[in-house]
Amino acid sequence: MDVVWASLWLFTLLNVVAVAALSLVWLERKLLGRMQGRVGPTRVGPFGLLQPIADGIKLLMKEDIAPGSSSRVLFFVAPLLVFVPSYMVWITIPFGRDLFVRNLDLGLFFFVALSVLGIVGLVLAGWSSNSKYAILGGFRSAAQLVSYEIPIIMTILVVAMLAGSLSFRDVVLAQDVVPYAAVQPLAFGVFLLAGLAEVGRTPFDIYHAESEVVGGPFVEYSGAHWAIFFLAEYINTFMVGALGALLFLGGWRWPVGDVPAAAGVALFLFKTYAIVAVIFWVRATYPRMRIDQLMSFGWKVLIPLSFAAFVATAFQMFYGWPIWTLTILSLVILVPPIYIQLRWQRKPAMALAKHYAEIAVAVHAQPRPVPVAAVTEADAAPGREDDA
């Protein structure tokens, strides 16, 4: 009997997640449009709201080409391997106090385990479509996503330590006094950056970079299969927003405490969309990093920082210092890398720009010959003067 309930719940979850992803598609095009001085889709329905639906209909109705030289079965399985994990994670994510499909008490662990599966689908898509760009994109995605799992896991461990439990609900309930973003700003920052890389948004979107590998693993997909990839990517972005809201901003509880479910969900969605808007804002401003810079940033900066956050939390909990010492500790750890970054990259560039301003070759205007009223041959044509 509960199989029917479970399938009903899963079906509604699928719809909720799909609608959320479509709203993200619309929000991205409108937000990016606004930031770039243009309007974004306006013709398709009021304020362009039907634009994602029009895209969806078109993509479903399109011919779905599998290139002749590709291994057909793997080609059609790969999108499912990417979509299913990103959808299954939503089972444990609570929208409100008791608005969830299953409240696993190992919710965080379940999320970490599933988010790694998406990589298999990407690499399979890259390899099975038998095109050089796809293979390059697939290997890049493998390298990037694996190396950004570790910072995410460490920051989630920090939250688990603070909350004392691995279930999403308990984490949110534990944050009623102060959200963990205030307690551990370092972990919040590392989580957002690693989340950006996990989802492949700029400045970490190297595996489907348009100008280098032309869409990466998705190059050969068209029509419905490509739509599944597209949807999975937006669901992942929504997931990073949701997790940021739940783990660090106190989900549906923080400022208002216990409120009726509807207000709680509204608050949770507001926080999620705020984080997603920041992700789109970063996409509009930053260029893309190169693959070796991305790797060195991941391994040399994010992972040490996440370990430092972990150790700081351990110290605070072991010695039982008051909670605000942890905030100061994590801020102290956060400031030096930012200072070093500015010191070694921005200042020398500014100094170089000043230096170039000095060594620019100045050309001084020669006195103009007295302008004769009518133009006659006597007016020495400047074109002929030679002495520089």
């Binding site: 970079a209 050309v363 133009v375 520089a388």
Partner: protein, 370 residues
């Protein structure tokens, strides 16, 4: 460069084909890759070879100006100016002062529009979506003014042999001053967004370095050459039109990497804007066309005239046999010569750098293939 591999691996040949978002049109690059590292680049061009030089030989001098518009289709007025100066030098015509001022104002505005487009497309090659929108917003403003003066957004056919087609509209002065203010703000906006952006610096500093000697031997000219430290600018070293009467600074870089080439072009925008305001102050009333026959018929002889285009040093070698059609007309396209420098710069870099280096050379395919 690459450590010798124990097992023999085959280098992958990646074809960045004629249709590729980063190749600015129909330019094809075959990269020999060892993983992500580029071992060698073999550029293939000719996908837009329309035979303009052969066409020029069967059209009269007035008609050739339109073909020059379509060669470097981002700096149209500068191309028209290059050809008209060659024909005027051959016919030894003195262009009236006011026509020269109008020409220089429009050419410098076109240079600013071209550099604004460069900053935009270069940023989108590296992944930033917003500067290209700001760049094209400035370009639209300048194109609106071009439309008021010459009647067309891109293919103006306004600079003629012996002067300009007609005088500028009456509100030209105040309108250009207002335009200079707006465009300066727009470019400063792009400057604030991009120049000292950490990720942008990481992607362009020290990438695609070429020293002055190889740059000269390879034939680089214009901002790409000035990025490597050679202070050669045709407006300074071989002054033409009314450039000797203007005071400005020629920005040069030192390390010859992508960021220097970008920064030289950015500073050139500001210099061009200040030049335009100086021209507006010095311009007086007067005729805008020299008295000559409608069909230009230069004497038999040869002449070589070069002028400063946004992309580099465009040279026009005109051989005339006395009839009203040029006997042979050879154009020295700066983008064509800058492309020769692509291979030495890109060896040993990554794929992402190959895209950045190609973008920093700012090539236009209509000019490369003619």
């Amino acid at each position: 460069m690459t450590t010798e591999q124990q097992h023999d691996t085959i280098d992958m040949m990646l074809n960045m084909g004629p249709q590729h978002p980063a190749t600015h049109g129909v330019f094809r690059m075959v990269l020999t890759l060892d993983g992500e590292r580029v071992l060698d680049v073999t550029p293939h061009i000719g996908y837009l070879h329309r035979g303009s030089e052969k066409l020029c030989e069967s059209e009269s001098y007035g008609q050739v100006v339109t073909l020059f518009d379509r060669m470097d289709y981002i700096a149209n007025l500068n191309n028209e100016l290059a050809f008209c100066r060659a024909a005027e030098r051959l016919m030894s015509i003195e262009v009236p002062e006011r026509a020269m001022y109008i020409r220089v104002i429009l050419a410098e505005l076109n240079r600013v529009a071209s550099h604004a487009l460069f900053i935009g497309t270069y940023a989108i090659d590296l992944g930033a979506m917003t500067p290209v929108m700001y760049g094209f917003r400035e370009r639209e403003r300048i194109q609106n003014l071009f439309e008021a003066v010459t009647g067309a957004r891109m293919m103006h056919n306004f600079i003629r042999i012996g002067g300009v087609k007609e005088d500028v509209p009456d509100d030209f002065g105040p309108r250009v001053r207002q335009l200079i203010g707006q465009v300066r703000e727009g470019i400063e906006e792009m400057d604030r967004l991009l120049t000292f952006n950490e990720v942008y610096l990481a992607r362009t500093r020290g990438v695609g370095v070429i020293d002055a000697a190889t740059a000269i031997s390879v034939g680089l000219t214009g901002p790409s050459l000035r990025g490597s430290g050679v202070a050669y600018d045709v407006r300074k070293d071989d002054p033409y039109e009314i450039y000797p009467y203007l005071s400005y600074k020629v920005p040069i870089g030192e390390n010859g990497d992508c960021w220097d080439r970008y920064y030289v072009r950015l500073q050139e925008c500001y210099e061009s804007l200040s030049m335009i305001s100086q021209c507006l102050d010095q311009m007086e009333a007067g005729p805008t066309m020299v008295q000559m026959r409608r069909i230009a018929r230069p004497p038999k002889g040869e002449v070589y005239v070069h002028s400063e285009n946004p992309r580099g040093d465009i040279g026009v070698y005109l051989v005339s046999d006395g009839t009203d059609k040029p006997y042979r007309l050879k154009i020295r396209p700066p983008s064509f010569c800058n492309l020769v420098g692509l291979a030495p710069m890109t060896r040993g870099s990554y794929i992402a750098d190959a895209v950045a280096i190609l973008g920093s050379l700012d090539i236009v395919l209509g000019e490369v293939d003619r």
